[in-house]
Amino acid sequence: MSLNQLIENCKNNNTKAQGELYKLFSSKLFSTCLKYSRNYAEAEDNLQDAFLTIFNKIGQYKNKGSFEGWLKRVTVNTVLQRYRKEKVFDIINENTIEDIVEVDIEEDSLSIDYLLNIIQELPDRYRLVFNLYVLDDYSHKDIAEMLNINIGTSKSNLARARQILKQTIENYKVAQSAQSL
């Protein structure tokens, strides 16, 4: 069955087709959910909400642009909606921090699980901005609109996120080398 046919069937609320679609895209979308969420359980919740939205609004997809791109946008929006709603952003001096500190890092064999873990541990806003800008190529302008913040705030949030990540990784390395000694 072609993807277009599958989409058509999903538009008709065909349960089987919905299952197929889920099989095809759940892994990719779940990775997005994992990056944007605070933890695994919330990522699962977000994935569920995202797919419900997708099946609900699949009629709005008019075969323009990549279907996967559309799915991802819906997913990201679903996640943003949740964290926007919760408004527990940790905001400290966000406008004063500039990206002046060096954020280069020594490449090591850091596991993806570890990296995912430290992203998830970022404060909500930092995590969202970092994900949107670094991993999903959104501009600061887009991010500012999506999160309803200033462009400057977006920039400083990003800088802060980088610093936290760098610091965490370095601390981790130190701890590891101490352990191995």
């Binding site: 759940s26 990719k28 990775s31 490449e107």
Partner: protein, 520 residues
């Protein structure tokens, strides 16, 4: 430091092809939610139909009662209208005194009627100035019988000044006519008139009076004519005879019309009589499932189960749309009970230890066990284990008390049902079909061991609102015109009483509804 790179690059590279398969439970949840939505979509449709039906019913009843009221009040006036109208066409053809008719309708007074009739004749002929000529012309313009009248009046004119004045001064006519009537009316004409009056059994006095005025106007001149001219007297006799025969016909038609009207009214009264009916009823209801399965947990699918016989009671109101079809609704309280046998009951402390045995699945509780695919659907502080599966378990667990689980549900039921009457005799038969809405008002689970009954919690998978499709047969025995004894075995197939049932749990219940119906 050669392999140092920007932190963004590090993450980008690592996450480039990052994919992770989510837990199967996520899809299970999504599927459940999607199904729920579909179900929800189905229900509003039948709600919509039901509301449309209810609205129609309401309209029907309202319009019916309105029309009934209307026809009751209008029927007597109809008879008057009919009876007053009917003689008029007869007069038209027989004595084309068209001129008098409109004036009669407008005026109640005999005399003015006559006066204005004369006036009208003159006006109609556009020569109001000279009374003599106009009256002649006017009457000549009309057909035979009026001519006789005209001739009569002309002759009266020529002979007596009284009658001359009658035409010349229309306002004095009243007295003269009355006089002439008094003088002459005791002759043939008035006799005729009285006969006619007797025959004409008109219900309305006013129309009767009007009618007699017409006769008077016709007969008085002809009576005078009888006095003055012999030859013409013959003519008038003839005409009055004609009148007689016609009057007979006329009265016949009037009588017929009245009879018809009466019949119609009676019919309406009859049909209106029994449209509404109220029936308080009570029924033993037996609850069971069509398929194997359990409403509590899948582990009980193979346990022995039995339905319970409970009671339902309530009141129905029905409305007969026509002689064959009755719509009814009402409100009923229904209690349903269901037993699951051979269940071991533990309290929570033990439950965790039991949980570690893989052979025993789905131990329930407020804490639902996450990774267990078969969650049970009750919220309770004790744990239930099917003894069927317990055979494999260690003895320590098997020592738990063996019990029956009794699930007790109470609903408020609101049915909307149609009754099609197959047989309408002293002992009647009808077929019933419809829907019910159920509103949950009692939800309890008991464990029963050797006559002790303990409340252990409630089912969490019972929907607050559910529906059933109803079918049944109705027998009724007419004790009197107003009361009948009803006996209705009903089968009600429950549509979404439970949210997640394991196995093939298709609940239904059978009720034998008995009640005494009161018609009004």
């Amino acid at each position: 430091m050669s392999d140092k790179k920007h932190i963004d690059r590090l993450f980008q590279e690592k996450f480039k092809d990052f994919e992770k398969t989510p837990n199967d439970a996520v899809w299970a949840n999504i599927e459940a939610k999607l199904n729920e939505k579909k179900k929800r979509r189905v229900i509003p449709i039948w709600w919509r139909y039901a509301s449309v039906a209810a609205l129609l019913l309401l309209l029907l009843t309202v319009s019916n009662s309105f029309f009934n009221y209307n026809s009751n009040s209008s029927e007597p006036t109809n008879t008057i209208v009919n009876s007053t109208k009917k003689p008029q066409p007869v007069l038209k053809t027989k004595t084309p005194k068209n001129i008098t008719k409109p004036t009669i309708n407008n005026t109640e007074n005999k005399t003015t009627a006559v006066v204005s009739s004369n006036l009208n004749t003159s006006k109609l002929n556009n020569t109001p100035s000279s009374a003599k000529s106009t009256s002649k012309k006017a009457i000549n313009g009309n057909s035979k019988t009026t001519q006789t009248v005209a001739n009569a009046s002309v002759k009266i004119n020529s002979k007596s000044q009284k009658t001359n004045r009658l035409i010349a001064h229309p306002y004095k006519v009243s007295a003269k006519i009355n006089q002439s009537k008094k003088e002459n009316s005791n002759g043939i004409a008035n006799n005729n008139l009285q006969k006619k009056d007797l025959k004409a059994t008109l219900p309305s006095k006013t129309s009767y009076n009007k009618f007699s005025t017409i006769n008077n106007t016709i007969t008085t001149p002809s009576a005078t004519l009888a006095k003055t001219n012999d030859t013409q007297n013959v003519k008038t006799k003839e005409s009055s005879l004609d009148q007689n025969s016609l009057e007979k016909e006329k009265t016949n038609t009037i009588e017929e019309a009245i009879a018809e009207n009466k019949e119609r009214a009676n019919k309406k009264d009859e049909s209106k009589f029994n449209r509404w009916s109220v029936t308080p009823n009570a029924a033993p209801v037996y609850f069971n499932t069509l398929g194997e399965g359990s409403s509590i947990a899948s582990q009980f699918n193979n346990n022995g189960k039995s339905g319970e016989v409970n009671m339902s009671y309530g009141i129905n109101a029905s409305y007969a749309i026509n002689k064959k079809l009755i719509v009814r609704s009402g409100i009923n309280r229904v209690n349903l009970g269901y037993n699951t046998n051979n269940v071991a009951v533990f309290d929570k402390a033990n439950a965790t230890t039991i949980n570690s045995f893989s052979s025993i699945k789905g131990i329930s509780g407020e804490e639902t066990i996450n990774n267990d695919a078969t969650k049970s659907n009750i919220a309770t502080s004790v744990s239930l284990v099917s003894e069927v599966s317990l055979n494999e378990a260690p003895e320590t667990i098997a020592s738990g008390s063996s019990a029956n689980i009794n699930q007790s549900l109470g609903f408020i039921e609101i049915p909307i049902e149609f009754q099609y009457i197959v047989l309408d005799k002293k002992l009647g038969l009808n077929v019933i079909g419809g829907f019910s809405s159920f509103f949950l008002n009692n939800n309890e689970l008991f464990s029963e061991t050797n006559n002790s009954r303990t409340l252990i919690g409630e089912a969490i998978n019972v929907n607050k609102v559910s529906y059933s499709a109803n079918f049944g047969l109705g027998f009724n025995y007419k004790m009197t015109e107003k009361f009948n004894l009803n006996f209705e075995p009903m089968f009600k197939y429950q549509i979404n009483t439970f949210e997640n049932t394991s196995g093939n749990f298709k609940p239904y219940f059978i009720g034998i509804y008995t009640g005494v119906g009161f018609k009004f």
